[in-house]
């Protein structure tokens, strides 16, 4: 009899301990979720811009893989970054605030390109995360070590068919994005970026902020296309996919027989799509149809004598929806 009672008490104690342990694990796993979970995304967005760090990450998509070195400094007033391609063709990006320049050295010269502000890893999240909140839901996953740092996994699940899911690894201490994966709707990886090594630094020295190019070579400046400042109504665009908004509108000369082309960039905060519209010159053949190259979908059609072309690393449905958002094109 005493033996039975003793066994019952022991079992009960073991069960209580087990339940207590499970509760602790559950609370720990959901500690992030107790506050507003989007604070973690906001923290990641700010960390990439406010911290000073240096590291090497591997970029991989379904076509290629390459190692990249990044140095980022925020001196309290301005941001400076240098992103160097370590594999393949030499290439560097230097940025100071929103001013971005890319150096492409070749055998004979150095091509310098002015770029618009880039949202490159680890600064892929927009400053205003409201754009992301409206298009994605968020959930927490496990914890993993990335580049020697403890990371919390966060999933961004799209609310509709117009964008891809994201899996993010956020540094548990500083919030910095350590790894990211973009998946298609079949959970196949489209793009993956992950730090192999990362370290923070406090120095405000800018000795590193210089491109390693041969200063004796000839420099060729590739000017950025002209931004449209006027509210020219060349096209009527409406009914864009939810969450997508215009971030720029430029005109540029393009093509084998150069002609003026309008280009709009639409973004939902994480991905970007280009819409091109140009009149088709007499005698020049138009293009129609659709194709996928790497993770980019391209869709071409003709409307009222104009070529409409949409390019973007987004689902096919998004490309179609944006193409169909062109309601009319001015007569020319």
């Amino acid at each position: 009899m005493w033996l039975i009672i003793l066994r019952w008490v022991l079992n009960n104690l073991l069960m209580q301990r087990l339940l207590f342990s499970l509760l602790l694990i559950f609370l720990n796993a959901n500690a992030y979720a107790l506050d507003d979970p989007w604070i973690q995304i906001e923290k990641a967005s700010q960390a990439a811009r406010q911290l000073s760090y240096k590291g090497i990450f591997v970029y991989q998509n379904n076509q290629e893989m390459r190692s990249i070195e990044i140095t980022h400094l925020n001196n309290g007033k301005e941001e400076f970054a240098r992103i160097v391609n370590l594999d393949g063709p030499s290439r560097e990006l230097l940025s100071r605030g929103d001013n971005v320049v890319v150096f492409n050295p070749t055998k004979e010269n150095v091509l310098i390109q002015k770029r618009q502000g880039q949202n490159l890893f680890p600064a892929i999240l927009p400053s205003n995360i409201e754009f992301v909140k409206s298009s994605y839901s968020l959930r927490f996953g496990d914890q993993e070590r990335i580049g020697g740092r403890e990371a919390q996994i966060v999933y961004l699940d799209p609310r509709d068919e117009y964008r891809y899911p994201y899996k993010l690894w956020l540094d548990k201490e500083f919030g910095l994005l350590l790894k990211m994966m973009v998946l298609d709707h079949n959970q196949k990886t489209i793009e993956q970026v992950s730090f192999n090594q990362i370290s923070l630094f406090a120095s405000q020295d800018l000795n590193w902020f210089t491109p390693s190019v041969d200063t004796h070579k000839k420099y060729i400046m590739d000017e950025a296309p002209q931004n449209m400042v006027s509210k020219e109504t060349y096209c009527t665009i409406s009914n864009l996919p939810t969450g997508f908004r215009e971030v720029s509108h430029v005109t540029r000369m393009m093509g084998r027989q150069p002609q003026l082309v309008h280009q709009w960039i639409f973004s939902d905060g994480l991905s970007s799509v280009s819409l091109f519209v140009n009149p088709i010159p007499k005698g020049q053949k138009s293009r129609v149809g659709e194709i996928q190259i790497g993770s980019a979908h391209i869709y071409a059609r003709v409307m009222n004598g104009s070529q409409i072309m949409v390019v973007g690393e987004v689902p096919q449905a998004t490309i179609h929806k944006i193409s169909n958002s062109v309601q009319s094109v001015s007569a020319h």
Partner: protein, 151 residues
């Protein structure tokens, strides 16, 4: 104008020329952006950011306030430190840019745009120029890093 901006950054313009150039930069957003780009390229190439930043910032501050009243940093080390040959793009006169715009406008207006009689399937004729234009302007990882693969 490009040459003037370059010379301004080198502190080699005279007072009258500088006031005029600063005034023009202050009026034109695109010229201001170009000024900032040249500044970034030159500062980073010479890696004399602290000195150059001081000089360039004083010019930009002056543009923000009152172009005519700007003061120069004559002691800047920029001019003496320049080791770069002048790139050809810095010597193109702005008139050429305007001429190009006018030419484009004229071509657009005079060109006979008719409904095309023949079409290509893009699977057979990949629109590389559109893809590259997207990759250059789209501010995303995949666009930037894929760009290398297309060249």
């Amino acid at each position: 104008m490009k040459e003037k901006i370059s010379t301004l950054l080198d502190d080699e313009l005279d007072l009258k020329g500088t006031s005029q150039t600063v005034s023009e930069i202050g009026k034109d957003k695109r010229l201001r952006e170009r000024f900032e780009t040249y500044q970034l390229i030159r500062d980073s190439m010479k890696n004399e950011l602290s000195d150059a930043t001081f000089s360039s910032k004083s010019i930009l501050d002056a543009i923000d306030k009152e172009p005519i009243q700007m003061q120069f940093n004559q002691s800047s080390k920029i001019a003496s430190a320049i080791a770069l040959p002048y790139p050809s793009w810095m010597s193109w006169p702005v008139a050429a840019s305007f001429a190009a715009v006018l030419l484009i406008a004229a071509l657009t207006m005079n060109h006979g745009y008719l409904k095309p009689s023949e079409t290509f399937e893009i699977a057979e004729d990949i629109p590389v120029e559109y893809i590259q234009a997207h990759q250059i302007l789209a501010p995303t990882n995949v666009a930037y890093y894929s760009e290398m693969g297309t060249k």
